[in-house]
């Protein structure tokens, strides 16, 4: 099957090296970083946060962790959709535009 999982790195020198059809191991985002902060990155004001976990519940990427009342965002996998900021009932999350947006 060739190099399943490495496919996204576009390292083939010839079409002959391609697998029979595009296949990748499931769970690729465990080892591949996908930081596409489309609408900026969510920054959390921990002082305002009431620990309700609505952001954790709504995050479609599952990249928000709440531990000991502290909200942490995995920016290496966050897509910057802004849903967490929209859902936060106390306005503790702000989408901050980045100088260089890596969105593709």
């Amino acid at each position: 099957m060739g190099k399943m999982g490495d496919r996204l790195k576009a390292e083939y020198k010839s079409y002959r090296e391609l697998p029979i059809t595009p296949l990748i191991k499931a769970g690729i985002s465990k080892f591949a970083e996908t930081p596409w902060h489309l609408h900026g990155r969510p920054e959390v004001d921990q002082a305002k946060c009431i620990g309700c976990r609505l952001c954790w519940l709504y995050c479609p990427e599952g990249v928000i962790k709440v531990e000991d009342g502290r909200v942490e965002v995995d920016y290496a996998r966050c897509k910057g959709c802004g849903i967490c900021a929209n859902e936060c009932p106390v306005g503790a999350i702000t989408m901050v535009l980045e100088a260089e947006n890596p969105a593709r």
């Binding site: 099957m1 079409y15 391609l18 029979i20 059809t21 990748i24 191991k25």
Partner: protein, 370 residues
């Protein structure tokens, strides 16, 4: 796993297989489903788990599957499908024509055309071996005419199960969905790769020609029956004119060829079995020295200038100073094609072979409606 949705004239296939499975005579799952698009996608899903699959359809059902046909071929899953040919409506018909499967020419499936019950059964067995071969891994349609072949009761030799199992090695999928080692299938291909996948698919289609002939040879050795593999040539060695056709029209044409040869005409017949892959080099070798070829076919590309086989044969022979090629459109929408009509086709092709100027390249055999 068998998953199919009934449509005339494919229906008896679905009914019989469902019965075989219900009675425990056939070891398979049968999935009833709400339409052909789902039937193809469920077959793709089942094939992705690494099992053998079968489905069958006709006409509008086949066209309703079309998205799934590309999906199956692009996923390189060796699905076997019987296509019971029926012309596309409207005008509404349930009768035969090859226009339904020819319209799916570019989906990336192999297509074999058969003309009798025995040929269909033997080709279905061969089809698994060809499609599942690691050099190929391409789904395959086994096509045959609705009613005139599909509903014609005839004697068929059914081979022993053990013999078929010896002929057909256990299927080893190239990949499969596995909960222990999960995969994401048929994902996005970046622009740098997309055409490369198609090139590989095309090369596998070319490799299939050799595999089809190997499957034919070993089948003949084991079971004592031959159908020709890519094509069947009849009296082509000394022929000046050749009729080329597909499916059961070849049976009637064979009788016409026999009659005209007795009358002294140097006439031959090619029954083209494999339309995809198209045996271009084999046809160049076989027909390069013939003076004229008449292509008799049950399909037409409206707004083009002939049937698909006519187009492809002309492309294959272009620039080789080969035969004059005439097109004959016949037998669509269930139209009978009689021996006397085929005799007229043969005589016109023989006239072209003798150098006579023929007006018009493509003729429609409309019978009493001309």
């Amino acid at each position: 796993m068998v998953c199919a949705y009934p449509i005339t004239p494919q229906t008896p296939i679905v009914e019989y297989i469902a019965e075989f499975i219900a009675r425990g005579e056939m070891k398979s799952k049968y999935l009833t489903i709400e339409g052909e698009h789902s039937a193809m996608m469920a077959t793709v899903a089942a094939a992705s788990t690494g099992v053998r699959t079968f489905t069958a359809t006709s006409s509008q059902g086949l066209s309703y599957m079309q998205e799934g046909l590309f999906y199956a071929a692009g996923s390189r899953l060796p699905i076997v499908m019987a296509v019971v040919n029926r012309s596309m409506g409207p005008p509404w018909t349930i009768l035969t024509g090859h226009d339904d499967s020819i319209a799916q020419r570019d989906t990336g499936w192999m297509q074999v055309y058969c003309g009798s019950g025995q040929e269909i059964l033997d080709t279905i067995i061969q089809a698994y071996r060809i499609a599942e071969d690691e050099r190929v891994l391409i789904p395959i349609m086994v096509c045959f005419e609705g009613f005139v072949t599909s509903h014609c009761y005839e004697e068929v030799v059914i081979p022993d199960e053990e013999e078929v199992e010896e002929y057909l090695p256990p299927y080893r999928p190239a990949y499969k969905l596995d909960v222990e080692d999960p995969l994401i299938l048929t994902t996005f291909a970046p622009p740098a790769h997309w055409m490369g996948y198609k090139k590989k698919h095309d090369e596998a289609m070319e490799a299939a020609k050799k595999v089809i002939m190997e499957a034919e040879e070993e089948f003949a050795e084991r079971f004592g029956r031959r159908h020709g593999g890519l094509l069947q040539a009849y009296h082509c060695e000394d022929a000046e004119a050749v009729i080329l056709t597909m499916g059961n029209l070849a049976s009637t044409t064979r009788l016409v060829v026999e009659k005209l040869r007795r009358e002294g005409f140097h006439l031959g017949l090619v029954k083209l079995r494999s339309f995809r892959p198209f045996p271009a080099s084999e046809l160049r070798e076989l027909l390069g020295k013939v003076k004229a070829v008449g292509v008799l076919e049950r399909n037409y590309s409206v707004g083009g200038f002939g049937g698909a086989v006519y187009h492809e044969l002309r492309s294959a022979l272009y620039g080789l100073n080969g035969p004059r090629i005439l097109g004959f459109i016949a037998g669509m929408g269930g139209k009978d094609v009689t021996p006397s009509e085929i005799e007229a086709v043969a005589k016109k092709t023989l006239r072209a072979a003798s150098g006579e100027r023929i007006e018009g390249e493509v003729e429609w055999l409309l019978g009493g409606m001309a």
